[in-house]
């Protein structure tokens, strides 16, 4: 950029002089650099070790104890997990978490990919469309879910009003209050809030595909589907994998969505892991609550390990 300093001396000579000057001090330049490098990472690393790594392992330890608030408890081995395996709320949480993640991911993928393909064309006002489609991402999650809660209200909620107003359905639906519609309602809200991340990530990947590839495919007589299958899809596949992994991790752990919409109800119909763990904590049984979050760790760990490997590879490339 413009404020870059202009060279005053020829670089190699100046650098050598600087290194020599440094070498005359107590440490060699290389050692100095190394000490400096470690000193710079130290604060961040110590905080992360203390605030993420230590609590992480501590959660695992607590999940093997019968700790309650005010009493550290003792080691009870798999006791908490055995108890959870028999609890109805826990098995609901497993299924609901799986359904929420799979359904939301599938919908966000279809909507995000479809819209990205549309916006990737050249037409007037495409930038404006992109800005508006991104809005849910810019909205705080808690605001989004509170607003959806109001939309879903049986009386005076916007959704029923639109259905009756347009004559599609004239009855009153208690979207969040009945088992059949509660989970779909949570999924819809979560898709509304989460699809822009897919949309923009896919759009960015689409924009890296050189037009010549489509040109060549067209000359070879490829149909639109063949062009998608053999040009577009291979180019966006890496992005799709990373986005799917991240979105699954975030959706499975999204506390706000379920908490602000249904609090896990009605009768556990939308109970997911983080909400169940929070309830466990409210009843002060910390060991049990920790076991709830630790129970999902094996699956989570696989997702995180794969995502980390892919993101780090991307980053270094």
């Amino acid at each position: 950029m413009s404020q870059a300093p202009t060279p005053l001396t020829s670089r190699p000579a100046g650098l050598a002089a600087a290194r020599q000057a440094a070498g005359r001090r107590r440490w060699s330049a290389a050692t100095q650099d190394r000490v400096f490098a470690y000193a710079l990472v130290a604060p961040a690393l110590l905080l992360i070790l203390g605030l993420v790594a230590y609590p992480f392992f501590y959660a695992i330890y607590v999940s093997f104890t019968n700790r309650v608030v005010g009493n550290d408890g003792e080691w009870i081995g798999l006791g908490n997990f055995r108890y959870l395996a028999q609890s109805a709320a826990f098995s609901s949480a497993i299924w609901n978490t799986v359904i929420l993640v799979v359904a939301s991911d599938a919908l966000k993928l279809s909507i995000g990919l479809g819209l990205a393909l549309l916006v990737n064309q050249r037409f007037p006002a495409r930038g404006l469309f992109r800005s508006f489609l991104m809005l849910p991402w810019a909205m705080p999650a808690f605001v989004a879910y509170l607003t959806w809660r109001v939309l879903y209200q049986p009386i005076g909620g916007g959704l029923n009003l639109i259905l009756t107003g347009t004559g599609i359905y004239s009855g009153i639906i208690d979207w969040l209050g009945q088992r059949a519609t509660a989970m779909p309602a949570v999924i819809a809200a979560s898709v509304w809030r989460g699809f822009p991340f897919w949309f923009v990530s896919i759009l960015a990947a689409l924009q890296t595909i050189p037009a010549e590839l489509y040109e060549a495919a067209r000359i070879d007589g490829a149909t639109a589907w063949q062009r998608f299958r053999h040009v577009t899809f291979p180019a966006i596949r890496p992005v799709l994998i990373v986005v799917t992994l991240l979105s699954s991790i975030w959706t499975a752990n999204s506390f706000e969505s379920v908490w602000l919409l249904t609090q896990g109800g009605p009768s556990d119909a939308t109970m997911i892991f983080p909400v169940l763990a929070y309830y466990g904590m409210q009843t002060q049984r910390l060991g049990e609550a920790a076991a709830v979050s630790v129970a999902m760790l094996p699956v989570l760990a696989i997702l995180v390990l794969v995502a980390t490997a892919l993101m780090q590879k991307d980053d270094e490339a």
Binding site: Q153, W250, Y278
Partner: protein
């Protein structure tokens, strides 16, 4: 359907041109429908906040018959939302300042120096970024209680570093990497120390990136609910999401004031988004930011 070739179709035979127009019309129709679905909840939030209670509950309509600011008055005077906003601002600004400063040191170190554990540190930071809060909130609450930081904004600031530090370190690495090493070396020859090179050359040249990272860190802290719910017990320490959360756990849902609170807590971020959109979207796709 696939882009880029559209302009070329202009020269195509008449049949193809008709198909092109139909395709274009369909594109606009689908996009307009999508934008309408995106705007519907935002619109509903805004008008509900401006409606009288009788219009919300008894004669619901798609637009308010009478516009009232009473909901905002209730929110600010009876519900003490000003205090919640103030707490949210304190926490979010503190978290942003601390984590952007500490993480720019760490990111600089990992981008500019080659040392033995660099790769490992990078992985630890990514792990930390992807470790969900739902796994950490129980041990963190025990830890904060032990440190005597439960139910305080200081404690909240400290635990928010669990997600903001890894995120900002991870993102800043990408921005710092794009600053040419030669510029720094030149600066050091001209008499700058390593610190000087970082703060006089690398940081100014990454200013757009640092701005984007600051916005992400700020919004991350601004939006957080679970940790606040677990750590904060007294009304005077509540942040904005927490204050609104307690509005819906009462028996009667005060929709008007609730949506007024939603508008107040999202408006600054939406405006920020429209102003800094370019940098934010770039940062989001480069570093995978949930928002």
């Amino acid at each position: 359907m696939i882009g880029r070739n559209a302009a070329r179709d202009d020269a195509a035979p008449p049949g193809a041109r008709g198909r092109w127009i139909a395709g274009r019309a369909l594109t606009y129709a689908v996009l307009l429908a999508a934008v309408a679905l995106v705007l519907l909840p935002i619109y509903w939030m805004a008008i509900t906040s401006l409606k009288l209670p009788r219009e919300i509950y008894r004669v619901p309509s798609l637009w308010p018959q009478t516009i009232t600011f009473n909901n905002y008055r209730i929110l600010f005077e009876d519900k003490d939302f000003v205090l919640a906003i103030r707490n949210s601002l304190i926490v979010s600004f503190a978290v942003t300042l601390i984590s952007v400063f500490i993480s720019s040191l760490a990111a600089y170190s990992m981008v500019r120096f080659r040392y033995r554990f660099r790769g490992l540190f990078g992985r630890v930071i990514l792990f930390a970024y992807l470790t969900p809060t739902s796994l950490l909130f129980i041990p963190l609450s025990i830890l904060m209680a032990r440190l005597g930081l439960g139910n305080s904004l200081h404690g909240l600031i400290l635990v928010y570093l669990t997600f903001s530090l890894p995120l900002s370190t991870w993102l800043l690495q990408g921005y710092f990497r794009s600053v040419p090493r030669e510029l720094e070396e030149q600066g050091m020859i001209d008499g700058l120390s390593r610190f000087g090179a970082l703060f006089r050359i690398v940081v100014p040249l990454s200013a757009p990136g640092i701005a984007a990272v600051s916005i992400f860190t700020f919004t991350g802290a601004w939006n957080e609910l679970l940790l606040a719910l677990v750590l904060i017990t007294s009304e005077s320490q509540r942040t904005a999401p927490l204050a609104l959360n307690y509005l819906i756990t009462s028996d009667v849902l005060p929709w008007g004031p609730l949506m007024a609170g939603a508008v107040v807590s999202s408006l600054p971020l939406m405006i920020l988004y429209f102003v800094a959109q370019h940098y934010m979207v770039q940062g989001m796709t480069a570093g995978s930011v949930k928002g």
